[in-house]
Amino acid sequence: MVPTSYYMTLSGILFTIGVIGVLVKRNPIVIFMCIELMLNAANLSFIALGRHFGQVNGQMYVIFALSVAAAEVSVGLGIIIAIFRSKETINIDEVNLMKF
């Protein structure tokens, strides 16, 4: 049996790659992909800890995180399409309507 700490370390590495991607990228679609990567990393640690404690509750959390991620992606990509339609660009530097 692989130790749980290995899975936690892998989850932390994947989450950090997602954070770096969100900081670096200018394309909102790729930023969304990095957010999905971060959600997956969190799900992986949930399931690893659920197995560690011998409970099914970790998998329940993952089911709800999955459905929230699906809803978030559909609405977010709709927002990206609306921005593209009104501004003809989706460069994240030029979409600063709500910037104070």
Binding site: L10, G12, I20, N27, L44, I47, L66, V68, V75, G78
Partner: protein
């Protein structure tokens, strides 16, 4: 043997994730993200969560990635020149911040020591039967969130249509 599988999959998933961030072309980023999702699905199987692994393949690697690729093709963002990454300073600053973040994670993990793993019947912890019994049992707290999820998905459907529609 499980450790060998773990290391192969870990290297594959981390490498695909790094390639996803480094790549300029969004379509290739999406394909590398699919690789990472499939690796995570195999991790779920090794963690005896078979049902979640199947859902991961269907929902993430299937539905969500098709949605991503569809929007990339629809907005014609496949050309790498369309969005030239600007700011030479941004990459090193982001890497330094990421290293600081992973150091913070490692520090917080060293503060907590996990109790020893509870011996459990791992063969049927992740089956559909176990998941369903836990999800719909009245003495468990998951029934109300399950029903609330249906409202969330309905709101997401309506919101996505209103966002993407030209005239409401």
């Amino acid at each position: 043997m499980p450790l060998v599988v773990f290391w192969i999959l870990a290297l594959l998933s981390v490498g695909a994730a790094i390639l996803m961030v480094v790549n300029v072309n969004p379509v290739r980023s999406a394909l590398f993200l699919v690789t990472t999702f499939l690796c995570v699905a195999v991790f779920y199987i090794t963690l005896s969560a078979q049902f979640i692994a199947a859902v991961q393949v269907i929902v993430y690697a299937g539905a969500i990635m098709v949605l991503f690729l569809f929007v990339i093709m629809l907005l014609n963002l496949g050309a790498p020149e369309a969005l030239r990454e600007r700011g030479r300073l941004q990459m090193p600053v982001a890497v330094v911040l990421g290293l600081a973040f992973i150091a913070a994670l490692a520090g917080s993990q060293s503060l907590v020591t996990l109790p020893p793993a509870r011996p459990v019947d791992l063969a049927n912890i992740g089956t559909v039967e176990t998941n369903g019994l836990s999800l719909f049992a009245p003495q468990q707290p998951w029934l109300f969130p399950f029903e609330a999820t249906s409202i969330l998905l309905l709101v997401a459907v309506v919101g996505a249509i209103i966002m993407a529609k030209r005239r409401v």
